[in-house]
């Protein structure tokens, strides 16, 4: 993959990132928001892996997408699902 192609791929991932972030902010339903948040973490993990930082990518996947989302879900199950 030539230098130009990888720059474009990065740009595409970045746009996806911003969209995920906006989606998290906009959605009213907290459960959907946490799912989109774990998607956001996975895209971030993709960006880093493409960049050549596998350690960080793996940690972000395991912790960002995994543990954080689980914690969010368990908190939501204990409190309220819909945001007023």
């Amino acid at each position: 993959m030539t230098l130009e192609m990888s720059r474009l791929f990065d740009a595409g991932l970045m746009v996806l990132l911003v969209l995920c972030a906006l989606a998290v902010v906009r959605t009213k339903d907290l459960l959907a928001a946490s799912i989109v948040f774990s998607a956001y973490s996975l895209v971030m993990c993709l960006v880093w892996d493409h960049r050549g930082a596998p350690d960080v990518a793996m940690t972000e996947a395991a912790v960002g997408a995994g543990v954080t989302t689980v914690l969010f879900l368990s908190a939501i199950s204990k409190t309220v699902r819909k945001e007023k």
Binding site: A53, P54, D55, A57, M58, T59, A62, V63, G66, V67, V70, L71, S74, A75, S77, K78
Partner: protein, 235 residues
């Protein structure tokens, strides 16, 4: 109206930040100060000095070992903080018997039972091969923690807790900081500096790195599981 005000405020804050970003050294250039100063030595002599092929693991455990000591303490602090904030609520006991709220489904239970040993093996692989391939103590620990969470949700809480017996759980939670203390004092004995690893990829350095990786892994897994269980106990 409040939202518009916040957006305007953030736009104002964005101006200097973006200007600074533009003035930062060029992204990805090999001459930027970050790449030419300290990192140059890590990359060139990192492997034989730090004793790990994966230079990042070398930096984490050897060059900047004390940062990871701090990190392990932070993860334990999180566990202690969660317990301190949530402990003592009345309904701890009755919650334990009530089956997890997820409707019982045989397929999930069977698949989780089948996959459990493989996930554990993968976690062990990630921890053990931290020096050579990407990954390391904490990533492996998180995977093992995730395994415990899945078992708690899908199979049953008691079976998952049998993996981390209550009596030694406080010691398991502090496996990370303890391993750092042990390796640190060993470093003082061997090289005269706290957290000092003997030069060159000798057996002692390999062993000390391995102990650290295991400590972080076990510590991380127990903490994540304890936090999830404690959060789960809150009705």
């Amino acid at each position: 109206m409040k939202r518009a005000l916040v957006i305007v405020l953030l736009a104002i804050v964005a101006m200097p930040l973006l200007a600074a970003m533009a003035a930062m050294p060029r992204f990805g250039s090999a001459e930027q100060p970050a790449y030419t100063h300290v990192a140059k030595r890590y990359l060139e002599r990192g492997v034989e000095e730090a004793g790990a092929e994966n230079v990042v693991t070398g930096v984490i455990l050897n060059y900047r070992g004390f940062d990871t000591n701090g990190e392990v303490t932070v993860i334990f602090t999180a566990c202690a903080a969660v317990i301190a904030v949530l402990a003592g609520s009345r309904n701890r006991q009755d919650q334990r018997e009530a089956a997890s709220s997820v409707p019982e489904s045989l397929v999930v239970r069977y698949v989780v039972r089948l996959l459990a040993p493989f996930i554990a093996l993968f976690a062990l692989y990630v921890v053990l091969f931290g020096e050579v391939s990407p990954g390391g103590g904490f990533q492996g620990g998180t995977v093992f923690g995730a395994l415990l969470i899945v078992m708690t949700v899908a199979v049953s809480r008691n079976q998952a807790e049998r993996l981390l017996p209550l009596r030694i759980r406080p010691w398991l939670q502090i496996a990370g900081p303890l391993s750092f203390l042990a390796v640190g004092t060993a470093g003082v004995v061997l090289t005269g500096w706290y957290l000092g690893f003997p030069q060159g990829a000798t057996a002692a350095t390999r062993l000390m790195l391995m102990v650290l990786e295991f400590g972080i892994g076990v510590g991380g897994a127990t903490v994540i599981a304890s936090i999830f269980w404690r959060l789960g106990d809150e009705a």
